[in-house]
Subunit: 205 residues, 2 copies
DNA sequence: GTCTATAAGCGGATAGAC
DNA sequence: GTCTATCCGCTTATAGAC
């Protein structure tokens, strides 16, 4: 791993542990046993480190997104759960980001725009996924309004499950992540047709 | 309003606007046209201002909670919606707090414990409310597991609706808050009995 | 209670040697 | 690429006059 990469990984670890504002460039340098000057050779300043992390997130996020797309036709429910867990893993790796997101967005219009685009894309992905489940007769068809709210509900649950666990003082484990998945599944089950429910039972058994 | 109160109100406004870390004691003093020294006469440091705000939140939150309790027997659905909006207003007034909550909790074990207690109390309140709706025949009875998940879903939606709007780049208005309410309502509707649905229709019409 | 002035400390950032 | 040394600026916090 290059020094630049090590700086980024160390920064992610420390940001996740203490929050970006409690972590200084000096802390990052000290934690990886290099001098502050060396750190500044690789990055102009702290903001640039954060930007580099965001870029990494974009790349990883894009790869994940491609995987989700590829997964999607495979089978509605299983694909959805795989997607949920994938997003949770992403949110966990970059958990400082989600924690401080609103403040970042407040102070950085560019990040705001970028994030809104991702947000919209995810909503569309979910809506599309729901529509295809309806077409397959797994979900009952519903009026436009209800479909929109349903879409937002799924996305909100997925987006904030990790945060929910954290502010409730729960550990993030396989078990608690699985519970979030259960939550989404139950929300979906509410809108299932009899046929969909039968298929799900079979799948579970 | 005393200077002390004005400091608190100014701090809340600035924290909401810029985030706690971007706002210094000097900024607060300047914004209200007093000297930094004067501010330090009333508060030992910035952390103490934040603590004073938390204390205010506790008091306001407790009053709101009492109102919710009082509201509760009045009528399930209407009370639930009133509660939702009350919590949104609270979250909006202290929006810096919810935005930075995970980081606060990370660095302050006491706040963590306090917050977890509130979290648990709200879950219990919701669970109790659901149980009484089931007893009244409004909601279909459900297995323990489903009830727990349902409770958490309601609470998660209520807790994060404001955050959801913010990270999605939406304005907080009567309209968008109402949409959050719709979301919760739809989640509840999924579990309603025929009797409950009829009552709701009548209520809406 | 409120002001002005100022000290102390820290984080961010750069220069220049190696 | 990496280090040491150092500077700038800002925030916190205090002392002492009014």
């Amino acid at each position: 791993m290059t020094t630049k990469e090590r700086i980024i990984e160390t920064a992610i670890a420390l940001f996740n542990e203490k929050g970006t504002h409690a972590v200084t460039t000096n802390h990052i340098a000290a934690a990886m046993d290099i001098s502050p000057g060396n750190l500044y050779y690789h990055f102009r300043n702290k903001a640039e480190i954060i930007r580099a992390i965001f870029d990494q997130m974009d790349r990883v996020g894009f790869d994940d997104y491609q995987q989700i797309i590829a997964l999607h036709p495979a089978g509605s429910l299983a694909a959805m759960e795989e997607t949920f867990l994938m997003i949770q893993r992403f949110n966990w790796r970059y958990r400082f980001f989600k924690r401080e997101l609103t403040v970042f967005i407040l102070n950085d219009p560019l990040l705001r725009e970028r994030h809104i685009k991702v947000h919209q894309a995810m909503l569309q992905l979910i809506r599309h996924s729901i529509a295809s489940s309806v077409a397959q007769g797994m979900l009952r068809s519903m009026p436009e309004d209800e479909l929109n709210l349903f879409t937002e509900e799924i996305w909100l649950l997925t987006l904030f499950w990790l945060n929910y666990l954290e502010v409730g003082g729960e550990e993030i484990t396989e078990e608690t992540l699985r519970r979030g998945n259960e939550l989404v599944r139950q929300t979906v089950r509410c809108r299932m047709t009899d046929q969909g429910l039968r298929l799900m039972e079979k799948h579970a058994g």
